[in-house]
Amino acid sequence: MNDRDLVEAALFVAGRPLTLGELESIVGPDADIEELVASLVADYQQRGAIEVVQTGDDVVMQVKASYADAVRAIAQRDLETPVLRTLAVIAYHQPITQSKVAEIRGNKAYGHVHELEARKLIVTAPHGRTRMLRTTKAFVEYFGFETENLEEIKERIELLLR
């Protein structure tokens, strides 16, 4: 076993971004995690359909964008289309009340909001008798937006709409 391969194995099994701290807890405190990650990033960049990407403290292994559409169908879809659609409504109109979302998406939206909150893609806060919803940092990361600013996210969605 070598440290670089251990990082590779960890990223492979995690299926989600790992922080440098998490990687250190696996590899041990003596390793230079940043260097190991940089080496993996460079290596994967040169070959194949998989990439290792570091964003700030987070490192993730995923399919390169150019192959993503081709294999999306085989990936275990972790958000069903109706839930994703509700998320799109929230992202576009945020901050938006839960009752407004239900008005647009129907009563099933309550279940969707529940699921999206559990997945940490949105946060909800009490707002009168309903709740106010907005997207999270995990949302930004999940969809690969470059910004956490709500206005900029909305602008970006608007741009994609044209």
Binding site: V71, R72, K108, H114, P126
Partner: protein
């Protein structure tokens, strides 16, 4: 047993069975362990209220319990109805508006979502933790019983309610001076089950006599007490 008596008995049994079921629902909802959206509150409430209509001759203790559950369920029902919107259906989405066009804009990254199986030793580890937790809670329960466990429902039944009403009446009168409302939590110095019940039930009586008005803006939230005619 006369026909009337047997009638009351069977209503009694049915009522207490229903209460148990509702009791479970209410306690689950209180702890946030079920989403009121997962149960048909409107339906449950309607069935429960239909029962109340048949409970007139029953023991006061059951009636007060029933009243409490009914008030909680009614509140859930009104919240549910208020939040409910005209039926939308995922199968027949509304017109292709901007929102649905924007759907393709959200393309999740494609990652692995494999999950591994749990090992037998992990199962055993959890069993050990569950056993420890059970031992702790058993110990707590025994301690509580030794300290004199308190049956909230029997108190309201056996004590002189009018005496309690008078006590709360005095307290409220004092607090309303210079204030248009008082919070339920302000009346409770030590939030024990006993103190809460002995304050809450007199309030229900006073509300019924239109001396005060009770308002709870959020489910399980604080209760707003407004002076009407003290």
């Amino acid at each position: 047993m006369t026909n009337e008596e047997s009638d009351v008995t069977s209503v009694n049994e049915a009522a207490s069975y229903d209460e148990r079921s509702i009791d479970i629902l209410v306690s689950l909802a209180k702890k946030g362990e079920i989403d009121p959206w997962d149960i048909d509150i409107v339906d449950v409430t309607d069935k429960f209220l239909a029962h109340i209509a048949r409970l007139e001759k029953l023991d006061l203790r059951i009636s007060s319990r029933t009243l409490l559950f009914a008030s909680i369920l009614l509140r859930m029902k009104s919240d549910a109805l208020e939040a409910a919107e005209p039926d939308g259906d995922d199968e027949t989405p509304p017109e292709e508006d901007d929102l649905h066009v924007c759907f393709p804009a959200l393309k999740p990254k494609v990652r692995r979502h494999a999950k591994r199986r749990v090992t037998l030793s992990e199962l055993i580890e959890e069993l050990k933790k569950a056993t420890k937790r059970k031992e702790r809670s058993d110990a707590r329960r025994m301690m509580h019983q030794r300290e004199g466990g308190f049956d909230a429902l029997s108190v309201a039944h056996t004590e002189d309610i009018e005496k309690q009403v008078a006590r709360v009446h005095e307290e409220l009168k004092r607090r309303f001076e210079g204030h248009d409302h008082v919070l339920f939590s302000e009346l409770i110095t030590h939030p024990t089950a006993e103190a809460i019940v002995q304050t809450y039930i007199p309030l229900l009586f006073m509300a019924n006599r239109r001396q005060i008005q009770l308002e709870q803006r959020e489910l399980f939230g604080d209760i707003l007490i407004k002076c009407k005619d003290l």
